[in-house]
């Protein structure tokens, strides 16, 4: 073989094969990376939609304010947060559960979605708040979840947050281990809702008005004190009421419920942490 034939040696053919293989692998890998990038971009968009929607739900109050009492067409955004709190509103959750279109407005039309609520310590007890169930086998599902505490709309006063020792006009009660909350009570409040004393244990209590009248009783876990308050208000439209309980004040609460829903009073003594999960898929 003369020197011109050297270009087609076995050595060269081997190199060409190796280059072809490497180029092939490179093209394949770039194609895979591209696909991965496209998939990643889709996933990222889906994650963003999921996170942002869940943020909107649990971190905003929604608009307009009190949207839970409006019809669907007037609602712009169904934020669940209670004003000046990190809790989510039970009334808003119920409204969201009743109106299937509410969440749809906040998500792209072609997206499948489901909003699920369950007690964090009991995952099997799931409630679908909005949307339709998406199984785990569905392709490209993204889910995001956050822990929430539900506010049932009760106005809650914990006796341990108040210290009227030495400043209460009924200070003689305080000498006998009573602690109090001083509250201005309006007749209309009694007509529109109920006051409860919520205590873990049975405790004696005294209710007094500014006319030096005192009514006494013993608490059960949940004691409705509306009748006694009505007696103390007499013919006044409002009065300052001194509410004293004896003993353990850490687990003693005064609760006002204007939603006529006493089914969740146990949540005050035994609060449950829930998980709100949003699942979306293309």
């Amino acid at each position: 073989m003369n020197s011109k034939g050297q270009l087609f040696t076995t050595n060269l053919l081997l190199w060409i094969i190796i280059i072809t293989i490497i180029l092939g692998i490179t093209v394949y890998l770039i194609s895979v990376i591209n696909n991965y990038e496209v998939q990643n971009s889709d996933d990222y968009e889906l994650i963003q939609i999921t996170d942002n929607t869940l943020d909107m739900l649990v971190k905003t109050e929604g608009s307009p304010t009190n949207w839970e009492s409006l019809s669907s067409d007037k609602i712009e955004s169904p934020g669940l947060k209670v004003d000046n709190s990190t809790d989510v509103s039970y009334k808003k959750l119920i409204k969201l559960e009743e109106d299937s279109n509410l969440l749809k407005k906040s998500l792209p039309a072609e997206l499948k979605y489901v909003l699920i609520l369950y007690p964090t310590n009991n995952k099997s007890n799931k409630t679908i708040i909005n949307g339709n169930y998406i199984s785990n086998s569905t392709n490209n599902v993204q889910s995001s979840s956050t822990s929430v505490i539900i506010d049932y709309g009760y106005k809650i006063y914990n006796f341990s947050d108040y210290n009227y020792n030495n400043t209460c006009p009924y200070n003689e009660f305080h000498n006998n281990q009573f602690h109090c909350i001083i509250l201005n009570v309006d007749k209309s409040q009694l007509n529109n809702g109920n006051y409860y004393l919520v205590t873990r244990y049975s405790q004696s209590y005294k209710l007094s008005n500014t006319y030096n009248t005192t009514l006494e009783g013993i608490t059960n876990q949940y004691t409705n004190i509306n009748d006694k308050l009505n007696v103390l208000l007499c013919n006044e439209t409002n009065d300052t009421i001194f509410i004293h309980v004896n003993g353990n004040i850490q687990d003693s609460y005064l609760v006002y419920d204007n939603g006529n829903d006493d089914n969740h009073l146990d949540s005050i003594l035994n609060p449950l942490v829930y998980t709100l999960e949003l699942r979306v898929a293309w």
Binding site: N11, I22, N40, N212, T240
Partner: protein, 319 residues
């Protein structure tokens, strides 16, 4: 190129192999950088939101602290402020600047400007308007600018707000720890021989602004227990004629805003129960205009306390 030399061909071929590998590496690196950037941006945006919320809480707390310090200092120096809003704004700004310095150490450039400190329709609350700019030092694209307002309370027990008016008007020295001012003969002298001003010798009032829990003021008259409790605790009440905190700090006689009033309790009981004396309310007794010390009739609270009130205040407090 010398094809007859195997070494050259090998070099060229190796170069050809390296090029696609470099392209591959660059592609992978760009993708990783992009992902890291997205994650970093998300984390930094969350941090900005957290800082914005932190500021809101800090401004409320620092405003209350500022009010404690400013009112305490005015009482110590016994010198009224010329422009109380401006002074409070400046002291608050200094405190906020210290907070901003701390954030700077954490790679955030924050600037919070206190625009305004003003009274609200509730004299126990003042409003602070501020502008907050937060941006990442090494990533100026991530930034938040917000105009916001915060309500600060005058009656947070953690940051007691002292009433400077008794000291500024009469020169009496306050004992902040007892929440009680004994005017000795200072108030009597201030009243300049107004009819029966002598009854206010050794009179007492409170020095910490505390909100009266009896929101319907007429309840004071329901039972002696209630008015006694109000007087014992030296509570303050809303009043159109009373002075707001800013006007108290400036030692004014009148105030256009919704203000506060409290009882000044005489400790001398006149022999004659039909006697009249200047009305036992601070904005009446501590008014620098002599003609403003109008008279009131005596009301026995108990064996040791008699208040003097005009018809308007009697009606207001149900006495």
């Amino acid at each position: 190129m010398k094809l007859g030399n195997n070494g050259y061909i090998t070099s060229i071929l190796i170069l050809l192999i390296i090029i696609p590998i470099i392209i591959l590496l660059i592609t992978v690196m760009i993708q990783y950088t992009d992902n890291i950037d997205k994650t970093t941006n998300n984390i930094e945006s969350d941090q900005l939101k957290t800082i914005t919320n932190d500021y809101k809480g800090q401004i409320e707390s620092l405003t209350e602290l500022t009010l404690t310090e400013v009112t305490s200092k005015v009482i110590q120096t016994k010198t009224p402020l010329v422009d109380s809003r401006k002074t409070i704004k400046e002291v608050l700004q200094q405190k906020i600047d210290l907070v901003s310095e701390k954030y700077k150490k954490n790679s955030f450039q924050t600037q919070c400007i206190i625009n305004n400190v003003k009274q609200t329709s509730d004299p126990f609350i003042i409003e602070v308007d501020y502008t907050l700019n937060v941006q990442r030092v090494n990533n100026p694209e991530i930034k938040i600018t917000t105009n916001n307002k915060v309500d600060a309370s005058l009656v947070n027990p953690e940051h007691p707000v002292y009433d400077p008016l008794p000291t500024l008007k009469t020169g009496v020295t306050e004992n902040n720890t007892l929440n009680k001012i004994n005017y000795t003969n200072k108030l009597e002298q201030f009243l300049q021989n107004t009819n029966n001003s002598k009854l206010y010798e050794n009179s007492i009032s409170g020095c910490i602004i505390k909100k009266c829990p009896y929101e319907n003021y007429a309840e004071h008259g329901h039972d002696k227990k209630i008015i006694q409790n109000c007087l014992d605790n030296h509570y303050y009440h809303e009043s159109h004629d009373g002075l707001c905190l800013f006007c108290r700090l400036e030692s004014k006689d009148t105030c256009d805003h919704m203000g506060l009033e409290t009882f000044i309790i005489p400790t001398i009981i006149a022999n004659n129960t039909t006697v009249t004396a200047p009305v036992s309310i601070d904005h009446v007794l501590l008014n620098g205009t002599n003609s403003s010390h109008y008279q009131g009739n005596s009301i026995n609270i108990n064996n040791t306390i008699v208040l003097y009130l005009d018809d308007g205040h009697k009606s207001k407090y149900g006495l």
